[in-house]
Amino acid sequence: MNYLLFAPEFTLTAVAFAVLGVDLFLPRDKKGYLPALSVVGLIGVFVLSLRYLWGRDTDLYDGLFLIDNFSLFFKAFFLVLGVMVVLSSVDYVKKHLSRPGEYYGILIFSILAMMLMAASGELLTAYISLELLSFSLYVLVSYGRHGLKPSEAGVKYILLGAFASALLLYGISQVYGMLGTTRFDEIHAALLLEGTPLNPAVLVGLVLIIAGLGFKVAVVPFHMWAPDVYEGAPTPVTAYLAVGSKAAAFALILRLFSQAFMPAFDDWQIILVILAALTMTVGNLVAMAQQNIKRMLAYSSIGQVGYLLMGVAALSPLASNGVILHLVGYGGTNLLAFMCVIVFYNATNKEEIADFAGLADRSPFVAMAMSAALLSLAGLPFFAGFTTKFYLFTAAADGGLLWLVGLAITNSLISLYYYMMVMKQMYMVPADDNTPLNVSMFSCGVLGMLLAGVIIIGVYPGPLVNAIQAATKAILP
C-alpha cells in the first residue's frame, strides 16, 4: 500500500498538533503567529495534495478511502475554505475569544474530517469522519465567552447532532443487515442483484440515512437547530458551519447516492424531491421574518440547501456538476456575507439587521461587498450566484424536474426581497451614529479576496467547471 497517498491527511494532522503545541509556548502577546502557522500549514497541504494526488484513481485500506479526482477536488476546496475561514477569524478571535490555540487547532481537525468525508468509500468510515467533524464543531460552536446564547447553541447542537448520528448509524446497520456490506461499490452491486422493487428494510435504512444526513445539512423538517446554533456560535464558526460542513455533507451525499444507491434511484428520488421542495420554500419564507442578520443568513442557507438537494434528486453528470459548482459559488458568497458581518461586529458589537442602517456612509466598501454577497445569494448576474444557480437549475430541469425548478426560481424571487431589505438599511436608512466604521486593512484585504472570488466565478467559471467535470467523472463515469 502506498502511504504517500495519505500524506495530505497525515501532514494536516501534524499541522493541527503543531498549532496546539506551539500555543503552549507562545506568550500571550504573540498568539498572532497561530493563524499564520495554520495558513502556512493549510497551503502546504494544498500544494502537497495537488502534487501527489493529481490524476490518481485508486483506493486505500481495501476501499475504505478512495483517492480520485472527486476527493482531490474537495480536498482542495476544503483547504482553500480553511484558509479563508482562518483569515476571517483573525480579528474576531483577537477581540472576542480566548484560547486561540485550541480554536485554530480544532478548526484544522475539522478540515481533516471534511477531507476524509469526501474521500470515504464505505459507510462506517464516512460515519467516523462525520463524527470527527461534528465533535470539532460542537466545541467551536460553544466557543463564545459571554451570555447564554453560545451555551444554548452548543447544547442544542450536541443533543440534536447526537440524535442525528444515532439515526444515521441505525440506517447504516439496517443497510448492512440486509445487504451484508458497507462498501459503496458492493452496495451498488448488491442492489443491482436485488433488482426492483427495493426491499422495504433497505428502504427504511436509506430513509434513516437521509434523515441523519438531513440533520447535518439542515434539511426541513430537520432544520430546527440551525438558526439558534448559527446565532449563538462565533460568527466565523457560523460561516464555517454554513459553508464547510454543508459542502462536506453534500460531497458525501453525492458520492453515496451515485456510487452506492444509484440502482435504487426511483425509490429515493421522490423523497429528495419532496425534501427539496419543503426545504427551499420553508427556508426562504421564514427568512423574511428575521431581525438578526445571522438568523436571516441561516434561513437563507436552508433555502440554498433546498436547491442543492434538488440537484441531487436529478442526479446525472450535469446535475452533479451543478451541485458542486453551486456549493463552491454559494460557499464563496456566503463567506463574503459572513465576513462582512464579522467586520461589522468587530467594529460595533452589533448584529441586528436594523444596525446596518447607513452602512453605505459609514463604510462604502463593506456596504458594497455586502451588497455583492446578497445579490449573489439572490442569484443576480455577474456574481457567482447567478452562474452557479443557472447551471444547477438547468441541470435539474434537464433531469426532468422542471416544475421543481420553477418553484426554486420563485423562491429566488422571495429571497431577493429579504436581501433587498438589508440593502435598503445600508443605503437608504440614515444611521443614528455616523462615525466611519473602523475596519483594519487586513480585513479589507480578506473582503477583497472573497469579492474577487465571487466575481471571477460569476463571469469566468470555465476553469472551475472543467475541474468540477473531472471530479464528477470519478463518481459518475
Binding site: 448576474p381 422542471l402 426560481i409 429566488s412 431577493l416
Partner: protein
C-alpha cells in the same frame, strides 16, 4: 476594418461596464472630472452605436457583426454577439438616451460617483441584451440591467406626496424590483424549458431557431415569455410598477427606464418569444392584442386623471407600449414593423418628456399640474420642446409617433377592425390629456410664484435638442429606419408563415 467590426459589439458592452467599474475606484471629490470623463465615455459609446447603425447593411438583412467567444462548453453557452434589423435601432436608441441621460444628470451632487457607476452598469446590461445571440447571456444582461435600478431609485429618486396620496421612493423602488424579477422568474423557467426541449444542449439562439418545438410545448411556454417579458414592457395588468417606478426614479433613470428598459421587454417578446415559438405566438396573439388595446385605453384614461406631471408621462408610457403589443399581435409585416418603430420613437419621446419634467421639477420643486401655470413666459425653450414631445405623443404627422402608430393601425385593421378603432380612440384620449396639460402648465397667465424660474441650461437644451432632432428626422424621413426594421421582421414573419 474587419477587426474593428468584430469587436464593436463587444466594445459596446465592455466600455460602459469597464468605465463603471473604474469609476468606483476614482476619488469622489473630483466631481467635475467624473462628469466630464463620463460624458466623454458616453460620447464614444454613442459614436459606436452610430457606427453600428451605419455599418448594418439592410439590403443583406439577417444577423451581422457576429462574433463568438467560448465561455462554458459543458452547458452549451457561448458569448455570441450579433445584431439584426430589430436590434440595431434599439442599440442606437440606447446610445442616444444614455448620452443625453448623462448630460441631464450633470446637476446631481449627492453621491454623484456612485450614481454614475450604477448608471453605466445599467447601460452595459441594456446593450448586452440587445446584442446577445445566446439565451444565457441574454438573460444574464437582462438581469444585470434590472439590478442597479433598486439603488438608483431608492437613493437618488424622489417621493410623491399629495397629502392623502403618499408614495415614498423606497416603495417605488421595491415595487419595481419585485415586479421585474417576478417577470424574469417566468422568463427563466421558459428559457430553461427551451434548453431542455431543444435537446441540443445549447443556449445559442441561432441553433435553437432551427429547432421546431412541438405545438403543445409552444402553447404552454409562449405565455411565459409573453407575460414575463410583458411585465418589463408594461403589459396590462402587470404594468402598475411602471408609473410608480418611473415617478420615483431620478430624471436620467426615468429616461433610460421608460425609454429603453421597457423596450427590453418588448424586444424579448419578439426576439425570443415570437422567433422561437411562432406557433405559440400565433395561438396567443388574440390575447396579446386585447391586452394591448386595454393598455392603450387604460393607460390613456389613467393619464388623464393624474395631477403629478411625472405620473402623466408614466401612464402615457403604459398607453404607448400598448401600440407595441398590438403591432406585434398582428403578425403581419406592416403592423410588426410599426411596433418596432414605435419602440424607437416612444423611447426617444418618453426620454425627452422625462427630461423636460426633470427640468421643470428642478426649477420649481413642484410637479403638481394644479399648481404649475403659464410657465412659457419664463421657460420658453422647455415649453417648445414639451410641445414637440406632446405632439409626437398624440401622433401629429411629421413626427415619428405618427409613422409608427399609423403603421400599427393599418396592421391591426386588417384583422381586428374593432380593436383598431379602440387604438384610435386611445390616440384621441392622448390628445385630450396632452393638450390639456400643455394648456394648463405652459400657457395662460403666469403664476407669480414662478416669476424667478429660469429656463433650461445650455447643456440641458443641447441634450434635449438631440432627442427632438431624432423625433423630426424619423418623422420626416422614416425610410432608412423602415428598411432596416423590415429586414429584421421579415425572417420572423417567414417563420410564422412557414407553420
Amino acid at each position: 476594418m474587419d477587426t474593428f467590426d468584430s469587436y464593436v459589439l463587444m466594445a459596446l458592452v465592455a466600455i460602459p461596464f469597464v468605465w463603471g467599474v473604474l469609476l468606483a475606484f476614482l476619488p469622489r471629490e473630483r466631481l467635475q472630472h467624473i462628469r466630464l470623463t463620463s460624458a466623454a465615455v458616453a460620447l464614444v459609446v454613442l459614436g459606436l452605436t452610430a457606427y453600428v447603425f451605419l455599418a448594418y447593411d439592410s439590403s443583406l438583412g439577417g444577423y451581422q457583426l457576429i462574433r463568438e467567444f467560448q465561455w462554458l462548453d459543458s452547458l452549451g453557452v457561448t458569448l455570441s454577439l450579433g445584431v439584426d434589423g430589430i436590434s440595431v435601432p434599439m442599440v442606437l436608441l440606447t446610445g442616444v438616451v444614455m448620452f443625453t441621460g448623462v448630460l441631464i444628470s450633470w446637476n446631481i451632487e449627492y453621491r454623484a460617483k456612485e450614481f454614475f457607476v450604477l448608471f453605466f452598469l445599467l447601460v452595459a446590461g441594456v446593450f448586452g441584451v440587445f446584442v446577445s445571440l445566446d439565451l444565457f447571456f441574454f438573460f444574464f444582461f437582462y438581469e444585470m440591467a434590472v439590478m442597479p435600478m433598486y439603488l438608483l431609485i431608492g437613493v437618488w429618486g424622489s417621493s410623491s406626496d399629495f397629502g392623502s396620496f403618499l408614495r415614498p421612493k423606497e416603495y417605488g423602488a421595491m415595487k419595481l424590483m419585485l415586479y421585474l424579477v417576478a417577470g424574469s422568474v417566468l422568463v427563466w423557467v421558459a428559457l430553461i424549458a427551451v434548453f431542455v426541449e431543444g435537446g441540443m444542449g445549447t443556449f445559442s439562439l441561432l441553433a435553437l431557431e432551427d429547432v421546431t418545438f412541438s405545438e403543445n410545448f409552444q402553447r404552454i411556454f409562449f405565455p411565459l415569455f409573453m407575460i414575463g417579458f410583458g411585465v418589463l414592457a408594461g403589459l396590462w395588468p402587470f404594468h402598475s410598477w411602471s408609473p410608480d417606478g418611473h415617478v420615483a426614479a431620478p430624471t436620467s433613470v426615468s429616461m433610460l427606464h421608460a425609454g429603453v428598459l421597457m423596450k427590453l421587454g418588448a424586444y424579448g417578446i419578439i426576439r425570443i418569444g415570437i422567433d422561437l415559438l411562432p406557433q405559440g405566438a400565433e395561438d396567443w396573439m388574440p390575447v396579446l392584442i386585447i391586452l394591448g388595446a386595454v393598455n392603450v385605453i387604460y393607460g390613456a384614461v389613467s393619464a388623464m386623471g393624474q395631477r403629478d406631471l411625472k405620473y402623466v408621462v408614466g401612464y402615457s408610457s403604459v398607453s404607448h407600449m400598448g401600440y407595441v403589443f398590438m403591432g406585434f399581435a398582428t403578425l403581419n409585416s406592416i403592423g410588426m414593423s410599426g411596433a418596432v418603430l414605435q419602440m424607437f420613437s416612444h423611447g426617444i419621446m418618453t426620454a425627452l418628456m422625462f427630461a423636460l419634467v426633470g427640468v421643470i421639477y428642478s426649477r420649481t420643486h413642484v410637479r403638481d399640474i394644479g399648481v404649475l401655470e403659464g410657465l412659457t413666459k419664463r421657460i420658453g425653450l422647455t415649453a417648445a420642446f414639451f410641445v414637440v414631445a406632446g405632439l409626437t405623443s398624440l401622433g401629429l404627422p411629421g413626427l415619428s409617433g405618427f409613422v409608427a402608430e399609423l403603421m400599427v393601425f393599418i396592421g391591426v385593421f386588417r384583422d381586428y377592425p374593432v380593436l383598431g378603432m379602440l387604438g384610435i380612440i386611445g390616440a384621441a384620449i392622448t390628445a385630450v390629456y396632452i393638450l390639456r396639460l400643455l394648456a394648463k402648465v405652459f400657457f395662460g397667465p403666469l403664476d407669480p410664484r414662478w416669476e424667478h424660474v429660469t429656463d433650461a441650461t445650455r447643456l440641458e437644451g443641447f441634450s434635449m435638442a438631440i432627442l427632438v432632432a431624432f423625433l423630426l428626422v424619423v418623422g420626416l424621413y422614416p425610410r432608412p429606419w423602415m428598411d432596416m426594421i423590415n429586414s429584421g421582421v421579415a425572417p420572423i414573419l417567414q417563420r410564422v408563415a412557414g407553420l
